[in-house]
Symmetry: C3
Subunit: 140 residues, 3 copies
């Protein structure tokens, strides 16, 4: 058994879904892990992790638009507005998605489905530098 | 320490929650795992995993109806409609629920609460064959 | 490699977010774990786990108010109302948040972001005694 760790830095340019599947895959290749589990953990509360379709760009666009409908900005009952109208909604959107992901590794690859991609969902209007911790428990 | 792996195949008959707790429990029994962690990972983006009440069928029916209200089909702003009106909503519903689950194993059993069941939530109108990867890290 | 386990008991006083980050940190300190993974699992279907901002109390208040808006009580189509008007909504709210959390441990501490706290979200109107299983895989 072996244990590997690193931090992925993802630079966002404001709201939206950012595919970082390849960054994760590259770390596993570098480490040469054949079999085990990959853990991802996002150290932020105004962004989140999402696993979704990576083929048709309109699927991603619909997910982004959906979040604007489901968690609208500028509700008059919001109290946490210190950093702007996207502040409280960003925590709500993060709460409805994921801070962590756990993915099996087989035969040297992440065992994703054919159309699955790993995304960081930025919920703030401005770009941010986001840290995703990657840990790998190898059975090799 | 030991490592076990398998794939559970779940045949759905269209939208709804499918309890597969017993399938997971059967694998653990077969392997004879006494203590450790069980990891479940769904290889699809139009279905998801849910942990919910398994006693009163009306709880399940309300969860299914709730998803139809929360993420309605046929919104005129949907762009990802290639495969029908249930296409984009299925990814949205998956995004609000789970791709992976991590459950402790104690004394040879999943350490679920009294009323907890493990469900696959099918979000497509038609039935699909779904793959859930099961991995088990045993401390025995 | 080592394996540690315990159960955290959290007494709630009705609906709301309860920060139990320190309870988790205390267990890790007691065990002296330097590096590995911490797994949390909630054994209930009418409460859930949430990772969110722990600095400004209004952020927490907005998350609580948001859930009341997103999943309202007293919808006439609810069928699971045996235990009151907060019964079915509690399962819906749990479904949209988390039953389990997986957090890296580094240098003897949970690797949380600066503003991240670990919360139990109670969805029932009355207080409950909630059990969170904590498991720790140590690489020391």
């Amino acid at each position: 058994m072996n244990w590997y760790k690193d931090t992925l830095t993802i630079q966002t340019r404001g709201k939206g879904l950012y595919d970082f599947t390849q960054d994760v895959a590259n770390r596993l290749s570098k480490w040469g892990v054949q079999e085990g589990m990959c853990y991802l953990f996002l150290q932020h509360t105004s962004a989140s992790l999402v696993m979704s379709e990576n083929w048709d760009p309109t699927a991603r666009q619909d997910l982004e638009a959906f979040m604007e409908h489901l968690v609208p900005e500028d509700q008059r009952w919001y109290r946490h507005t210190l950093e702007g109208s996207d502040d409280s909604p960003s925590h709500m959107r993060a709460m409805l998605t994921l801070p962590s992901l756990t993915i099996p590794i087989d035969d040297g690859h992440l065992s994703l489905g054919t159309w699955q991609g790993i995304y960081l969902f930025e919920h703030r209007a401005r770009g941010h530098t986001r840290q995703v911790l990657i840990r790998c428990l190898s059975m090799d």
